[in-house]
Symmetry: C2
Subunit: 300 residues, 2 copies
């Protein structure tokens, strides 16, 4: 399972029951949160996402609609008795904002809060099964995008043939890496007899709040699914530039330039009650586009 | 019109679609906000309360469930183009928490944010038509309650008799103060001919989060309506003491000791899905009790 669930899809001013930005990306047993606007903890409850499974939170930038839900989430996790470390990747100033809030409340969290300051582009989290990278985007203040990449072994077990050989399950990981199996009697079982080529790992890129920037397409090149903000419809391109945001059409252009498979758009301005035109306009440039609707999980 | 509208009635952990604490008190053309838990700006939208009418916000204490909605509200008021000053009365540390958030966002509010530190009990706001007092309550950290008192002139115009006399409307305020009118020809119109005794001003006290404390009854003596927290049912009195909170029955006792007319209870623990027992238990001690239900306006 590799999917993204939308918790908030609106820009700064909440409107029409749309909430400020937050998403959770589920990759097998891991749940990553990206941004955490006000009300995110209530959205987690509403959509029945277990807070305890979130170990990593990525905050793109320090505009309130992307993190004002974080203090409440941190506090509630403490009240719920969380014990695992919670890792927060964010612009450096966040730590100095959050700690005084906890101090003023005389809060003693039963778990450790680990802040990681985003300083340069590259891999920020590297696991056997996934990696997370950050990249700079162009916004009014320091702002970061993220790419979550699934890592897959080059081979996977051929369930039809593996039962013909007496290979201990402890060796399966080595088989997935392409190794042959040598039995205790010296017989060699060639890897390709018991494995097949794996599909490549998928990837999800989150472009945060950004000005239209063709250089961005290079940074997210070939990701499976791209999330790009589309604050305004195409007729308000001037306003988008002025506010360091993008339009529907610009989001589609970046997806096309990046050769991504699927595009998800969000961060809609509270000017718009209906979102239909966002979909129509963006699809004209990039047909495989979907609206980031709250509560919906998009499979990557 | 003098009434309080409940925006959030739950304790720290949001549950069952109940929100953290916030209330707005409407007194004629003034709207005062008391506490501002996470999601308050969305609750204002939901219940169609005009944010622009709020000029004074009172924050009882710096536990997140009482003010984590404030940064979002402050920011949104800016985006909406507010120009009037916004006055915030709160424990002194709040200013040092809010300003760094605005700085990190490079936010330039189009209105002035005026912080007033709560330091001693007494009148903090004094107007011709109302006054607001603060008083200390006993909680785990510094915590304040508030009393909003309507001020009324001693007399009001007798609409049935006033038309018999030729008194200019500009003199009506003096009539309400009890003065006689002296006509240009020297005729004296005695005050009691054109006015009647006014009803006394009403008052609303908000007791914030507090341990059961009989001294509190003295501080809120004779208010028209008392809001007192009731985090737990009576069987959890030990837990209430341990956490510096009160029970249903304790809230009722304070109302009885204070000789208040009406009691409103709230700040319910997320342990409880149904609130029926809160009402039953409290009414046994103080019959004129109501549950602080979100979205409901209680007339004082």
């Amino acid at each position: 399972m590799f999917g993204v669930t939308i918790l908030g899809n609106n820009s700064a001013l909440p409107a029409y029951d749309r909430h400020p930005t937050s998403q959770v990306v589920t990759l097998n047993d891991q749940v990553f949160m990206i941004d955490c606007g006000e009300g995110t903890q209530m959205q987690l409850s509403k959509y029945k996402i277990r807070r305890s499974r979130i170990n990593y939170i990525f905050i793109s930038h320090l505009h309130g609609d992307h993190y004002f839900g974080l203090p409440g989430l941190i506090t509630s996790l403490g009240l719920l008795g969380r014990e695992n470390h919670l890792h927060i990747y964010a612009p450096e100033a966040l730590k100095g904002i959050i700690l005084p809030l906890l101090f003023a409340a005389d809060a003693h969290l039963p778990y450790e809060l680990v802040f990681h300051a985003l300083k340069e582009e590259g891999v920020i989290l590297d696991d056997e099964r996934y990696s997370v990278e950050c990249f700079a985007v162009t916004h009014r203040i320091e702002c970061w995008g993220f790419i979550i990449r699934e890592k897959k072994k080059p081979r996977k077990i051929n369930k039809e043939t593996i039962t013909n050989y007496n290979i201990p399950a402890t060796f399966y990981e080595s088989l997935k890496d392409g190794q042959d199996y040598i039995a205790p009697n010296g017989d060699v079982i060639k890897n390709e007899l018991v494995t097949i080529a794996n599909t490549p790992g998928k990837s999800y890129a989150y472009c945060a709040d950004t000005l239209y920037d063709e250089g961005l397409a290079q940074k997210v090149k070939n990701v499976t699914m791209l999330y790009h903000e589309a604050t305004y419809l195409k007729d308000l391109e001037d306003k988008a530039v002025e506010r360091f945001h993008s339009t529907s059409v610009q989001a589609g252009k970046i997806a096309a330039l990046a050769h991504t498979k699927h595009l998800l758009i969000g961060h809609f301005s509270s000017k718009y009650e209906s979102l239909d035109d966002f979909l129509t306009e963006t699809k004209e440039v990039f047909p495989d586009t979907q609206l980031a609707i709250e509560g919906v999980t998009f499979f990557i």
